[in-house]
């Protein structure tokens, strides 16, 4: 059984598209992280919980059902957020020019693996 940090490393290490990766729960506790940019990660940790709340509430209000994944595309870079188990979520921050689909696929893969691994963290 691989823990969350090991899985995060599998996604992020040697991946030119990803500059940061974060597994965080609804209480703001960081379960795993891997980054080449500490400043970006600090901002991501601060924003992850309110962002997740906002997405969850918006998805519920608009009748989209439970949140599965969201992709935010910026003019410079993008990030993807994927739900693990309703409590934890994965945030993948992309490098400039990274393909948004790759980030979304990375976040969905990591979320699925964390779900399969159960509560390992």
């Amino acid at each position: 059984m691989l823990n969350a940090n090991r899985l995060a490393q599998i996604v992020a290490r040697g991946n030119p598209d990803v500059i940061g990766l974060l597994v965080v729960d609804a209480d703001g506790k960081v379960h795993a992280s891997d980054s080449t940019s500490p400043e970006v990660m600090r901002a991501a940790i601060a924003m992850a919980v309110p962002l997740r709340d906002l997405i969850d509430r918006t998805a519920a209000e608009l009748g989209c059902g439970e949140h599965s994944a969201t992709l935010v595309e910026g003019r410079e870079a993008s990030f993807a957020i994927a739900d693990v188990d309703g409590f934890r979520c994965v945030l993948v921050i992309g490098a400039s020019g990274a393909a948004p689909g790759s980030l979304r696929a990375d976040s969905l893969w990591l979320a699925a693996r964390l779900r399969d691994e159960g509560g390992a963290s």
């Binding site: 991946n15 393909a99 689909g101 790759s102 979304r104 696929a105 969905l108 893969w109 699925a112």
Partner: protein
């Protein structure tokens, strides 16, 4: 007597009248047939002319699109709004879903996002493959090589086919995965044909000047498996290959061409393919990539093969359509792989002995 004469003359006039009527009728019929034939010929000629004009116009439109957008690196879908609806993408993918050799099939755009439903867990990863493939396609196009299709095989025998779609689905890619065997090329062709619809595919350049005419050999004097360069060169001649490049992520160690691309083009193509296979392996999260075949628009094949080992070497071979069978390429890379394995085994067996010998000599000198 006179009665008989009158009867005979009347009969003769009736018969001659009937004959004249028949002959005249036949002549009129023949004239009408000739007139019809002439009109039909005119109509056929006009229709053929119209078809030719339509074909020429389609070619001109396709050529204009290709040439006007290429320098700006714009996707046609971004400019032309005759894009396919999501339901139409679903119809295309439905042609593949359910076939026995197809595990998952999606249509994705150049950003790696799927345009079709992602029922299966790995569909998003497959869609993400479209992004690095698009980058590879652009890189090779800049080098003068048009890629029509990519076929990937991982070390755990997962097969993925990536086909750029044309027509109203232009700018999207069909990505289909099959385990143990590749997805049937005819099924992939059927999807591509349906996507193209009535629109003619963009005329892709054949092997252009940059990919022909250069015959040279370059070898690294140090670094790389130097002992296999002669073997590679000999096999390359025998297999009738146009080009061969051996290297790793850092450098090219061996590069040769026989009426093929120049050394710079070969090195750039090798690096582009190496980067693509690395990214694809990471996206598929399998056991690594064994082989990447790029089907060139002219029908040739550009193949990257993994040579597993400590150095993570890769071999890129280029063959013209029909000149070299994939089996020859497989034989060549297999031969090299076995040689490298044997070399690695010799090195590992001699390693401890060397260490022991070094340790004893150090011990002796210390004493």
């Amino acid at each position: 007597m006179i009665d008989w004469f009158l009867i005979a003359s009347a009969s003769a006039s009736v018969v001659s009248g009937a004959i004249a009527w028949t002959v005249a009728g036949r002549r009129a019929h023949a004239r009408a047939e000739r007139a019809c034939d002439a009109k039909l010929a005119v109509a056929t000629s006009a229709r053929e002319e119209a078809d030719r004009r339509a074909l020429t116009l389609d070619h001109e439109v396709a050529y204009w699109r290709a040439t006007s957008l290429a320098p700006r690196e714009l996707a046609p879908a971004a400019v032309f709004h005759d894009r396919m609806a999501a339901s139409e993408h679903e119809v295309l993918v439905a042609l593949l879903r359910g076939l026995c050799l197809v595990d998952t099939a999606v249509i994705a755009d150049a950003t790696g996002l799927s345009r079709t439903r992602e029922g299966e867990g790995e569909a998003s990863s497959l869609a993400a493959l479209a992004a690095p493939f698009d980058r590879l396609q652009s890189a090779l196009e800049r080098l003068g090589l048009a890629v029509a299709e990519a076929r990937l095989e991982t070390l755990d025998t997962t097969h993925v086919t990536i086909r750029p779609l044309g027509g109203r689905a232009r700018g999207t890619f069909l990505v289909a995965k099959g385990s143990s065997l590749p997805v049937n090329p005819l099924a992939v062709d059927a999807v591509a044909h349906s996507a193209a619809g009535k629109t003619l595919p963009t005329p892709l350049p054949r092997l252009v000047a940059g990919w022909r005419g250069s015959s040279d050999k370059r070898r690294a004097s140090n670094g790389g498996p130097i002992e296999f360069f002669d073997d590679l060169e000999r096999e390359m001649d025998r297999a009738n290959l146009r080009a061969a490049v051996l290297g790793d992520v850092a450098a090219v160690y061996f590069s040769a061409a026989e009426d093929g691309p120049s050394a710079d083009v070969r090195a750039s193509a090798f690096m582009a393919m190496n980067a693509f296979q690395e990214r694809a392996a990471q996206t598929l999260r399998g056991a690594g990539m064994a082989r990447v075949d790029l089907v060139v628009a002219s029908g040739g094949v550009l193949r990257w093969s993994a040579l597993p080992g400590a150095r993570n070497l890769g071999l890129v071979l280029l063959a013209d359509d029909g000149a070299t069978s994939p089996a020859w390429m497989e034989r060549l890379s297999g031969r090299l792989r076995r040689g490298l394995d044997a070399s690695a085994a010799r090195a590992s067996s001699s390693g401890p002995a060397l260490e022991r010998a070094t340790a004893s000599s150090v011990g002796r000198s210390a004493r």
